[in-house]
């Protein structure tokens, strides 16, 4: 028991330190770095949602670009057709739109598991991609749709303020708060009786059914929550990026979300977050330094996966455990 208290105290302490760092960083870093971190945190929200399915329910989705993209396009449509630029409306719209798509796709996909589930999620997301690609009079096709700087809690960007400064300060904190809220909510979900039922389904679908858990229904709800989280990330991403294009609906982006999660460690709660932030830095620096960035990134990722099969956080945990045993 004391071991647990010591551990959780240590955990709380490190969480507090990280939180303090996240709050101070914008004043210490240049705006570009802060914006980069914002991207990382947004991808982390998407990965958190994704991992509710992979890590906790045992379903590998290869189509999460659909919900991220739906969140982003919903925001772009709100701007284009409703002429609204309120961030709160963006978030609500993004969540509702992605949840609606997740409800439809989830209804079909949760009838299957394993590779069939993965392929079906991939195929359905590609349908959305091709719609965004072909219906250019609605979606702008490959040119995409522009999204202006939004108002945050009704406050517009101060006239004459630099957009970079706005994104690196006020928008960063906005993202940070939503990230923390999303983190807290997800933490409660996976530790709730509902979360335990999902883990039971992951471990043993047959037995879960025979202790009264309605497996398909629970998978569906997990799918819905997962899609809504990833949609929320998409809605936060698009004002930062200023533009949404069909690229984020493409299955290669789904692959990235899978990668964030596996890189960080899908068997841990914080793994996907670390994975998303680290991947974002890796990709940004690889792109910045060489035209062969995909090759560089590929090699780095292969090495990381081979060397750290449990992911960054999973490996760190094991090392920590070994060190404590040795001590």
């Amino acid at each position: 028991m004391t071991m647990v208290t010591v551990l959780s105290r240590r955990l709380l302490l490190s969480a507090a330190v990280i939180l303090a760092l996240l709050v101070i960083l914008p004043s210490a870093l240049d705006p570009y770095q802060t914006i980069l971190l914002s991207y990382g945190l947004i991808f982390a929200i998407a990965a958190l949602g994704f991992n509710l399915l992979l890590g906790y329910t045992g379903l590998l989705s290869f189509g999460h670009s659909a919900y991220f993209g739906m969140g982003a396009y919903a925001v772009a449509f709100i701007v284009k057709y409703l002429k609204i630029t309120s961030m709160e409306v963006f978030l609500i719209g993004g969540i509702l739109a992605s949840a609606a798509v997740a409800a439809l796709f989830g209804f079909l996909c949760v009838r299957y598991t394993r590779i069939f589930f993965g392929i079906l999620t991939l195929a359905l997301s590609q349908v959305l991609w091709s719609l965004a690609f072909k219906f250019f009079w609605v979606t702008g096709g490959t040119d995409g749709l522009r999204v202006p700087t939004p108002s945050l809690l009704g406050m517009q960007m101060a006239p004459g303020q630099d957009k970079m400064t706005f994104l690196a300060h006020r928008y960063y904190y906005y993202v940070l708060i939503i990230f923390l809220a999303g983190l807290a909510v997800m933490w409660v979900i996976v530790h709730s009786p509902f979360g335990k039922a999902l883990q039971a389904i992951r471990d043993n679908e047959t037995r879960a059914e025979f202790v009264g858990v309605q497996v398909r229904k629970y998978r569906f709800v997990a799918f819905l929550i997962s899609g809504a989280y990833t949609g929320l990330a998409g809605a936060l991403w698009v004002p930062l990026n200023g533009l949404t294009t069909p690229e984020i609906l493409h299955w290669t982006f789904s692959g990235k979300i899978v990668f964030f999660t596996v890189l960080g460690g899908f068997q841990t709660f914080v793994g996907p977050i670390i994975g998303a932030v680290v991947y974002n830095y890796l990709e940004t620096y690889a792109v910045g330094h060489t035209v062969y960035w995909q090759l560089v990134l590929g090699i780095v990722l292969v090495v990381l996966v081979l060397a750290l099969p449990a992911g960054i956080v999973g490996t760190a945990k094991r090392l920590g455990l070994r060190l404590r045993r040795a001590a």
Binding site: F194, V211, V213
Partner: protein, 251 residues
């Protein structure tokens, strides 16, 4: 009083008559052993009763209500629970959580995702009580995947018992454990079943176990019921002896 009645229950697998027109009755409160050679149809019968398989024809009546076409979920709500021959546990959950999950499920709490499962004291207490009765309380915080085989068999039964069933179907609760472990496991299981007045159907191969613990024995052979009686009646039934027990029980 009859708790469960099956009428001409039939299940084919291709040309094989796995269960062939079986009229099977379970009385309230009894501990019934279902025996027979491999392939006699015991597990198929349990699968039909628990809803894992759908019969090709025939009916299943539980507490006077026809459950033949009811879902697994509906049957569990009605009070039919089962364990598995090959242990089916939630290996990455702790031993305590394996049982706690069942209690959450029974109470309809698994729909709830706004509070922490570990903070539900009544559920944790009940789960600990169940573990204590199965002698697993010292393993509560271990992952179920890390238990020894005998403990896994017990936890598999504990998970079913935590549903507070009226009818408990146990598919070979002592298979895969050493002979030395069989009696202690059966002692624990039968003590709990008796003290909680749970009606139980136990599939078992070990004749010593069967004769020692059961009130009634049903012998299956090639998908049909060959004999049905008290342990003493079965022990002296010539037909059973020749087809099944051979020289083992007569000696």
């Amino acid at each position: 009083m009859n708790l469960l009645v099956t009428k001409v229950l039939t299940k084919y697998f291709g040309d094989t008559h796995a269960v062939d027109g079986v009229d099977f009755t379970v009385q309230q409160g009894e501990l019934l052993a279902l025996i027979g050679a491999n392939g006699a149809g015991k597990t198929t019968l349990v699968n039909l009763i628990s809803g894992m398989l759908r019969p090709d024809s025939g009916s299943i009546v539980f507490q006077g209500a026809d459950v033949t076409s009811q879902s697994v979920h509906g049957r569990i709500k009605a009070g039919i629970a089962r364990s598995f021959q090959l242990v089916n546990l939630f290996d990455q959950l702790t031993v305590l959580d394996n049982v706690a999950l069942v209690i959450f499920s029974r109470e309809g709490k698994t729909r709830n995702f706004v509070y922490l499962a570990d903070h539900d004291r009544p559920v944790r207490q009940e789960a600990m009580d169940v573990l204590q009765r199965f002698g697993l309380e010292n393993k509560a915080n271990m992952l179920a995947g890390g238990l020894a085989q005998g403990e896994r068999k017990l936890l598999d039964v504990a998970v079913a018992v935590a549903l507070r069933p009226k009818l408990l179907l146990l598919d070979e609760p002592t298979s895969g454990v050493s002979t030395r472990e069989k009696a202690p496991i059966m002692d624990i299981i039968t003590a709990i079943v008796r003290s909680e007045h749970i009606t139980a159907v136990i599939i078992e191969h070990d004749m010593d176990v069967v004769f020692k613990y059961s009130d009634r024995i049903v012998v299956m052979h090639q998908g049909t019921i060959l004999a049905d009686g008290t342990p003493d009646e079965i022990r002296t039934n010539d037909q059973v002896i020749t087809t099944l027990i051979g020289t083992q029980a007569s000696g």
